[in-house]
Symmetry: C2
Subunit: 125 residues, 2 copies
């Protein structure tokens, strides 16, 4: 089933990226993959460029997938990216077709101070 | 199929929230729904509290779902939240069981300046 296949592709995408296994990483991507970071309006076009973009990122890191939803059209996952003693939450939507990732929308939501709320039911954890 | 049902629940969740249709909104939620904003560490427990949390938000708003992935366990969606002349991107993971939303992980990724990249393939859009 496509949903199950797309789930496995998403898992291989993050697993190979977390190990800097660029051969396995390439296998998950379409030739004309498009990578976008809506928060910064960064864009990288094509498999070679996107591998370069990741392979030139300094230092080592690990990736842990903490949430993953997949269907016939792609997947969405939440990860913990650990790099140089820091943890960052990442979220991506991966659009897939024919067993390859075609379009990546990557988000890096940073902590912020909560706004004032009118509701008395909000706790902090 | 559960994936299709979960997709419909996610659609009703955002549609009713965007219309402040609290009766329809309630229908999507489990009694003991748990709402969390990892970026602020805000938490709201239970259906009544979560409706209050949303219903007391000031002013009107609209919600447009721009991406939605659903499977047997829940859904993940990206929305545009329009409020008082501003647009904000929201992302949520909705864990579901028995046709109700049990756990919401809500993210509000803000624009930021892109870091320096070693790769020469990055464009801005």
């Amino acid at each position: 089933m496509n949903a199950q296949r797309n789930r496995e592709i998403a898992q291989r995408y993050w697993q190979s990226l977390g190990k800097r296994d660029w051969a396995a990483f390439r296998e998950t991507l379409a030739e004309d993959v498009l990578y976008e970071v809506p928060q910064t309006r960064e864009r990288v076009r094509g498999l070679e460029a996107y591998v370069d973009f990741n392979a030139t990122f300094p230092g080592d890191w690990t990736i842990e997938v903490v949430r993953l939803v997949a269907d016939e059209t792609g997947a969405s996952g939440q990860i913990v990216f650990r790099h140089q003693g820091q943890e960052q939450v990442g979220i991506a939507f991966l659009q897939m077709a024919d067993g390859k990732i075609q379009h990546i929308f990557d988000f890096w939501p940073e902590p912020y101070e909560p706004p004032l709320r009118m509701s008395r039911y909000v706790e902090r954890y």
